[in-house]
Symmetry: C2
Subunit: 221 residues, 2 copies
């Protein structure tokens, strides 16, 4: 269970927004290979953030996302065209929020809510503006301010400094098991939004709570 929460902090991609909602656009561009492109794109996007952090070669998530898309398109045997890639990148500013998100955020009004993402501001701000969700959050936090990706401890310190809270006063929500592991390791209280019914990560770090989607959050606080 969770208790004494002063700030509720949400991951963005996969947690508030469905990153596979761009699969339709990928199918328009690449036909029956669209779904595969969409999946590899997301997988490589995350992998490249890990690898660049490990190698000490940080680049903003917008560049990483573009590079991951180039890889994904090549991997299905298609020669990537710049114009096509830019059109698909633009979709990242128009992702679809999961259906329960706005209702849940509305019901949490009065609490300190923030987002904290690997995304750079050139991706996050247009997305939150376009979706109409921006007004629910007091802070938009990006790892880009410190140039250190999640799940490094350095990355999560941004939340403490920006929101003026202690580690154990933060409830952090993410659908990404690796992000929940990193946040738990850092000392946040954590809720894993396990939308797909995945098994627990085997990293010796358990989430404080596990929920199927954000609607369960309202009863927990």
């Amino acid at each position: 269970m969770v208790s004494n929460i002063k700030a509720i902090v949400f991951d963005v991609y996969g947690t508030l927004f469905d990153v596979h909602s761009i699969v339709k656009k990928c199918e328009e561009e690449f036909g029956d290979k669209g779904q595969e492109v969409s999946l590899i794109w997301r997988q490589k996007q995350v992998e490249y953030s890990f690898l660049r952090e490990l190698m000490g070669r940080y680049q903003p998530f917008s560049k990483i996302t573009f590079d991951a898309l180039k890889y994904a398109v090549s991997s299905v045997g298609i020669q990537p065209k710049e114009e096509q890639l830019l059109q698909l990148m633009a979709e990242y500013q128009h992702l679809t929020p999961y259906k329960e998100v706005e209702t849940v955020l509305s019901s949490l009004k009065g609490k300190q809510l923030a987002v904290f993402s690997n995304g750079s501001r050139d991706m996050l701000e247009p997305l939150l503006n376009n979706s109409g969700l921006q007004s629910y959050f007091s802070s938009i936090l990006s790892v880009d301010d410190r140039k250190a990706f999640k799940p490094t401890p350095t990355s999560y310190t941004a939340v403490l400094e920006e929101l003026q809270v202690e580690r154990k006063e933060v409830l952090f929500l993410s659908s990404n098991g690796w992000d929940i592991s990193g946040a738990k390791s850092f000392g946040f209280q954590t809720a894993w939004v396990n939308r797909k019914g995945s098994p627990r990560e085997q990293l010796d770090l358990q989430p404080d709570i596990e929920i199927e989607d954000l609607s369960e959050l309202v009863n927990l606080l």
Copy 2:
């Protein structure tokens, strides 16, 4: 092209040995889900090494490999049994070398050859002994001596100190694109063993040479 090489250093899993050669054992245990278990096992094994490094929670690769197997079995809806898991783990000491490996190593006799792996010694030494390949190498190098996984710069320094060579005097070979990126970033000369005809990683780091399997190596030196 590569030149002025004083040491030839090989990655192990996927480079000298086929990690999916255990798919048969997985199929014996899990029937038509065996192949999926084998693939997820390898994917999670690599991911967990990245994540533990990023979180500052190093554990030896033997533990990570066991944890990844537990995840993989759970992910196909099977309750993992300890005995079954230990049997599968034992297979990691009996991986099959790729068919050209021994011929190539024989032809390189007289050169300084080493392996450098994320694997811990409790995995590497039995594997190399059982396969009969151990005698070809002057050094068995494991990241476990420094407790830092590839592709961190710290991990690759082991090669310099143990073999008493400069960065640019090392030819490093791996089939893993992320390992080649890390080695190139560190300053090794690199040969990507692209066994599956994969596209290049989009990490702004290109291998010095790309080969389909190790047999091309003989003509390059």
